[in-house]
């Protein structure tokens, strides 16, 4: 791999966190790989593919220095996907991975973290390496194989 200049991962700006006892910051995860899955609870492709994949990753890497984080980035139907609705969704779908509620913006429908990462929609998958650099920023469906390949590569490198 050439020595590309990798972008630094911006911090996650969350109005709330679910499935964790306290907020998570990327700074405290330095030295670990972070897999951030951005979704909306009423996005069909997230429900059928992205969210089960995030749960699978969370369980598969439970004992490894890999942190899976969900990011609820609501950019449409804001009222229908508020915190109360998301909590019902998490309960019904038995989700266990940590989920940040992306902070609503003052100047438009796109929430703050989604803007910072220039996400194109949901589902999106972002992989951040042990030095806090963005290695992948993918919009749409992505195969488990590609994710495993990248995490395995970074795990060795970072170890």
């Amino acid at each position: 791999m050439p020595n590309a200049i990798l972008p630094v991962a911006p911090g996650i700006v969350a109005s709330d966190w679910l499935n964790v006892s306290r907020p998570i910051t990327l700074d405290q995860l330095r030295g670990q790989i972070v897999v951030m899955h951005a979704f909306q609870m009423l996005c069909p492709g997230c429900v059928s593919h992205g969210i089960p994949q995030a749960e699978l990753l969370y369980k598969y890497y439970a004992e490894k220095p890999v942190q899976v984080i969900g990011l609820h980035s609501v950019f449409e139907h804001h009222e229908a996907m508020n915190k109360n609705a998301l909590e019902a969704f998490i309960y019904e779908y038995r989700l266990t991975f940590p989920i940040a509620i992306d902070q609503a913006s003052n100047d438009g429908p796109i929430p703050v973290t989604m803007q910072r990462y220039s996400l194109k929609g949901t589902p999106s998958l972002v992989i951040i390496d042990q030095q806090g650099k963005i290695r992948l920023n993918h919009f749409g469906r992505i195969d488990d194989l590609a994710i495993g390949d990248m995490i395995g590569f970074l795990n060795q490198k970072g170890g």
Copy 2:
């Protein structure tokens, strides 16, 4: 088939209807077969199986005297599955079949039509024959084959 005494289908009590220009009554559907799919928008088994099945039935029987009706019977997380949220859900999942919002009850979480049909949960499928009698009241997953078999049987009988 023995001459069993079949229960009469109670009327649908709806606070609202979506995907139709005016409310549907079972009385006006006498002479047709009615397939009623009771669901909740945050019920995983409804989203993965029951709702796509209802949409399939609606399209398959479009030219036949068979009316598919969705019944949004919310008995939990009422606020998260209100009318506004359901409209967003219908839009995102591109649902086209008529959907009644089951009337909330004054005396508990179970809505009125759900009580009248003694539905055990969601997803449930009810098939009503041309004479307004209940032929099937099934809780949980049911195969397309079983539904087709019953509708084909009733179609011939009623013709």
Copy 3:
């Protein structure tokens, strides 16, 4: 349904039968509905869809006057799909429905029964009513719903 002149189902010409103690003839099935699934053991669409569907139909209609028959109509790779290979296939896939081996033709690769029914390839599904008339002759994938609908319709009519 208009009074179309329905084609009479030709007899099945088989060089052998598997999963039954003696050959089946359509004549002896008069009064029953016959569902004939034509397949080849090395046809991917048969293995993934048609054959599991035939097994499902066989079990679903076990107590009804509906006879499911597999027809192994080999029109290519004849040596690779001989009787010995088919027996191994049936064993490995745990198939339980009766299967006729379509009689090889003297004048070309298309076996005799396949020619008689003018089947276009595999998988094909043929439905024969209680009077021995062909009601469906379908090449390619077909939904469970459509099959159930036709069988239910014929069951009532024939009863």
Copy 4:
């Protein structure tokens, strides 16, 4: 990872090779990762899961120092799964990855390479690292994620 003593991968003993112009040896692949998928063409779990996975791996790693090899290890129904039958299977399923036909043994049904690797059945997946050591020898279904994770890890290490 502790400094475990990893077993050396024995050579592949093949009676024939398909989808390649000449036989492949593990020696010539030193420096590359080898993914060997052992299957039987009439094994249901191979057809539904293992073989499509091998094809996916072959395409995903086409430009990487990762060689996917199929190993047709027939230990039952030998006649039904001979070379001619395998060629028909490969043609029908549009398989493009290199496939070795595991050499039949003189003293029993288990072929030679299968014995050398102590494979427990099909499907099995073996991953061999750049130094010719066995890193994984897995019987049964395995997720894409686990395979990607191991290959990514080895790719970095070996680079």
